[in-house]
């Protein structure tokens, strides 16, 4: 299990997860730089992601949708703020109204920073995501993962494995 640390900051509404991957930094970076690889890891089970636009450069846009089990589509985007290949990138992610990928102003955005550092065994990745308010976080979960709770349960095996470790 590569996850080595999880921090919930309830005041700052921030989640930080640290993971150690048995792969070099360049290899980890490639997952984000290659939309086809990103699609393989981004969407939760049953909700595959399709990246329509993929521009991992400062000011770049990533547009994607996730397709649910009933064929329903959820449109979302990343606005890429800063990129330091292959060690860090910053982006805000949010939901779009439809396949025009125009921002849905009723739904909040989250600020994210992903960093990758070289270690003896490979790469230490730190994923940080912050929400503006509890309401924002709730909206993201209500809408985002529409069946967000269901998704979490789908992932629960991973959580249990991590707790048992």
């Amino acid at each position: 299990m590569p996850v080595t640390d999880v921090q919930h900051d309830l005041d700052a509404l921030t989640l930080t997860i640290t993971a150690d991957f048995a792969a070099p930094v360049e290899r980890v970076w490639e997952v984000y730089a290659d939309p086809r690889q990103l699609e393989r890891v981004w969407g939760p089970p049953g909700y595959p992601a399709t990246f329509v636009d993929h521009d991992l450069v400062p000011g770049g846009r990533m547009n994607y949708y996730m397709t649910g089990p009933e064929g329903e589509k959820y449109y979302a985007y990343w606005d890429v703020a800063a990129v330091q290949q292959p060690s860090r990138f910053d982006f805000t992610d949010g939901f779009a109204v439809d396949d025009t990928f125009a921002r849905n102003p009723e739904l909040p955005e989250a600020a994210n920073t992903y960093t990758f550092e070289s270690t003896d065994g490979g790469t230490r990745a730190t994923f940080v995501g912050s929400y503006a308010s509890a309401e924002a976080l709730q909206k993201v979960l209500d809408m985002g993962m529409v069946e967000g709770s269901t998704l979490a349960i789908n992932q629960i095996d991973d959580l249990l494995a991590a707790r048992a470790a």
């Binding site: 299990m1 590569p2 996850v3 999880v6 921090q7 919930h8 900051d9 309830l10 005041d11 509404l13 989640l15 997860i17 993971a19 991957f21 048995a22 792969a23 290899r27 980890v28 997952v31 690889q37 393989r40 890891v41 981004w42 939760p44 089970p45 990745a125 994923f127 995501g129 509890a134 976080l137 709730q138 979960l141 993962m145 069946e147 967000g148 709770s149 269901t150 998704l151 979490a152 349960i153 789908n154 992932q155 629960i156 991973d158 959580l159 249990l160 991590a162 707790r163 470790a165």
Partner: protein, 131 residues
């Protein structure tokens, strides 16, 4: 700040409740919409009493609520319970952990060291986990 004691207790109750495949499946169903316990029971190859027990565990963990309508007990997922900030972060954590696990799998599938006899290499070799 890490999780508070109360949140840890609640997490323990949830993890216990969710450490069972049938209960996870029941919760998936009742989060999607209200189900009668008898309808749930028909979905599983086990006795009504056994399903009722699973429902009770989920109820005690605060993940599910029940109400009566005539002779029927109707169960729904308690979305509110899963909506506290701590729970929300835990939910996100699950999503992120899933992504990390999928990345790990992706790296594990990367070209292994040159095989001596390519035809002998199983296509789906199990990977060793180092812990």
């Amino acid at each position: 700040m890490r999780m508070t004691e109360a949140e840890e207790d609640r997490a323990d109750a949830w993890f216990h409740a969710l450490a069972d495949r049938t209960r996870r499946d029941i919760l998936r169903r009742v989060l999607a919409g209200e189900h009668s316990v008898s309808a749930l029971a028909r979905s599983y190859d086990m006795s009504f009493a056994a399903v009722q027990k699973h429902v009770a565990v989920l109820e005690r963990a605060g993940l599910l609520t029940k109400r009566r309508q005539g002779r029927e007990a109707l169960a729904s997922g308690d979305v509110q319970a899963v909506r506290s900030v701590g729970a929300m972060l835990t939910e996100l954590e699950g999503l992120w952990r899933g992504r990390i696990a999928r990345m790990d799998e992706l790296f594990a599938q990367d070209t292994p060291p040159l095989p001596q006899h390519p035809t002998d290499v199983p296509t789906d070799a199990p990977t060793e986990e180092e812990d």
